[in-house]
């Protein structure tokens, strides 16, 4: 197997007296979709925000491309090529698609005046490279887009920056059947293009279908990290709800300790 693009070892994170992450090991491989699953409160969002640089881990090692790194701010994460697509999408309704994709990182000519042509061109190229055909015009206001299209724009925004790891927080949670299909296809294409994709989802059918590896969190610990092919629905559900399934998972004593 190839080396992981992003590797976390023994990451701990507490909020006051509450320890949310216990010695978490997490790996993201290039060209693969790694699903991050777990019940509410298992620590998925905390882990994502730690990777994104919004939270700072109390202890633990980060390695990117095999080299040790520190991520102390969202900007440091972005500089490494880590992008997050948040659940609430973080798009501004009053701006159009191009404006949203470049928000906070606008292209300028001469350092002051916005270079709209370059931005429009790059937005169009990125959307085309993702085989997105559902958007009529890149100058369309985001307010006029459907849920699936908004998700598409948010994902396109994340890959615009030559990013190498993209974390998707519940990308299909609010979508209908057809739109979920589109977004899952897009998630698969990102991985096929060589990116390391992290998919957080509550929908186990989606997870099994689109992901290569599954990392299950249970009360802040990694219950299992296994290839999706060797897994099945009931096993994952057991890992999520009980922390163990058959001979894999967290020993009952350890699980009780963190409960």
């Amino acid at each position: 197997m190839t080396d992981p693009l992003l590797e976390l070892r023994s990451v701990n994170k507490s909020f006051g007296p509450v320890q949310v992450l216990h010695d978490v090991d997490f790996r993201v491989y290039p060209g693969q979709v790694t699903a991050l699953v777990g019940d509410n409160g298992a620590g998925k969002s905390t882990l994502v925000k730690t990777i994104a640089g919004i939270y700072r881990a109390d202890s633990g090692d980060f390695a990117f491309d095999g080299k040790p790194v520190t991520i102390h701010s969202p900007k440091e994460a972005a500089d490494l090529g880590i992008e997050v697509v948040y659940q609430d999408l973080a798009l501004c309704d009053n701006l159009d698609i191009v404006q949203n994709m470049f928000l906070g990182r606008e292209a300028t000519s001469g350092g002051v005046v916005l270079d709209e042509l370059t931005m429009e061109e790059r937005a169009r190229t990125t959307l085309a490279s993702l085989s997105v055909r559902t958007v009529k015009s890149v100058r369309q206001s985001v307010a006029s887009l459907s849920g699936g299209q908004r998700q598409t724009v948010a994902i396109a925004k994340a890959v615009l920056w030559n990013s190498r790891v993209v974390l998707l927080d519940e990308p299909t949670a609010a979508l209908g059947v057809a739109q979920t299909r589109q977004v899952l296809d897009l998630v698969r294409r990102l991985a096929d293009a060589g990116l390391g994709v992290v998919l957080i989802s509550h929908n186990m059918v989606d997870v099994l279908e689109v992901s290569d590896r599954i990392t299950a969190l249970y009360l802040g610990r990694v219950a299992a990290d296994l290839p999706a092919k060797e897994s099945n629905l009931s096993q994952i559900v057991e890992l999520i709800t009980a922390g163990r399934s058959g001979d894999i998972g967290i020993p009952a004593a350890t699980a009780a300790e963190s409960a």
Partner: protein, 340 residues
């Protein structure tokens, strides 16, 4: 807005099934300055028919001069309203700034250009005070500026000892009141200065990253923050820009009234908000254009002058302004409900 359509129809973006009303709604949603422009054109035509004097060049140039101070203030007010804020102190800040200019120049013999710069700096300082209170102490802009309105009023009255100061005719500060002739139309430097302010701020809002960040912050502060924008800085910058317009407006005010009057500011606060609202800028932030506020200020002045020339009781001017404000906000609410 996050209204979701049924999945099957979600990808059909062609607005083919829209009623005429929805089309108008869409058009106005895309062009926030369109409704004030229509109102202005209709108002000018109606008053032109009602009173023959209205469309004479002298009447029109006087009309524009009368709205120059409010017009300049409305630039700063627009920038703040775009961040979903409001500035209730902007008129008094202007009066304070004009007092600083005039008193330094007249009472203390400071040269006009220097007095002007210090006065503008005072205007910027008022913006910084508001901005710091809003961004660092996280107080709502409405409350902050309600408080600073009283503070600026008191400071202005104490500083001026309640007295009006008139400037000698040759003062540099009165330059904004001087007229230049273009054909039969006379226009003051103050009006030109106001237009320069609109052009400059309009350009910055439309064509710089700062402007883009301002619109984003006004629409959805959390989303802007997640996109990497330092929204506190953006908010503070809005109040600083408003402070600059306060200083420029103060200079135009000097030219208009020939000095400085500590009691003059009360109406300007609300008049600037009126211009912004009638100009189609949403009080919820993130939607609107400075050019709309220019149209808004013109509309108010057209109604005032038009009704005056038609010989209507002046109280009806106030009534008309009130109706316009409520109509403008109602239209904005309707436009904001636009669906895909």
């Amino acid at each position: 807005m996050s209204e979701q359509t049924a999945p099957a129809s979600a990808e059909e973006l062609v607005p083919s099934r829209h009623s005429p009303a929805q089309r108008v709604q869409h058009l106005l949603h895309r062009n926030p300055a369109l409704s004030p422009l229509i109102v202005l054109v209709v108002a000018v035509l109606v008053f032109g028919v009602v009173s023959e004097n209205f469309l004479r060049p002298q009447s029109l140039s006087l009309l524009v001069q009368q709205m120059a101070v409010v017009g300049a203030l409305a630039v700063g007010q627009t920038v703040i309203v775009l961040t979903a804020g409001i500035d209730l102190s902007i008129g008094m800040a202007m009066v304070l700034s004009s007092l600083v200019m005039v008193k330094l120049n007249f009472d203390h013999g400071v040269p006009g250009p220097l007095a002007l710069l210090i006065g503008i700096a005072a205007g910027i300082l008022t913006g910084v005070v508001n901005g710091v209170l809003v961004t660092r102490i996280n107080l709502p802009p409405f409350i902050v500026t309600l408080g600073t309105f009283s503070i600026f009023t008191a400071v202005a009255l104490l500083y001026a000892a309640g007295q009006t100061t008139a400037l000698p005719d040759d003062s540099f500060l009165l330059w904004t009141g001087e007229t230049i002739r273009i054909g039969s139309v006379g226009i003051t430097w103050g009006v030109l200065l106001m237009l320069v302010l609109y052009a400059g701020v309009g350009f910055a809002l439309r064509n710089t990253a700062w402007g883009r960040h301002l619109y984003a912050t006004g629409d959805d502060r959390d989303a802007a923050e997640l996109a990497g924008i330092r929204t506190k800085r953006v908010l503070l910058s809005a109040y600083v820009v408003a402070g600059v317009t306060v200083g420029v407006a103060a200079w135009i005010l000097c030219g208009r009234v020939g000095g400085a009057d500590p009691n003059a500011g009360l109406n300007y606060n609300l008049m600037s908000i009126t211009a912004v609202v009638i100009g189609g800028t949403s009080l919820f932030g993130g939607r609107g254009l400075v050019i709309g506020s220019l149209l808004g200020a013109l509309i108010v002045q057209v109604f005032n002058s038009g009704l005056a020339l038609a010989g209507v009781d002046p109280n009806y001017q106030v009534l008309a302004t009130g109706i316009l404000v409520i109509l403008a906000v109602a239209v904005d609410q309707w436009i904001r409900r636009v669906k895909a």
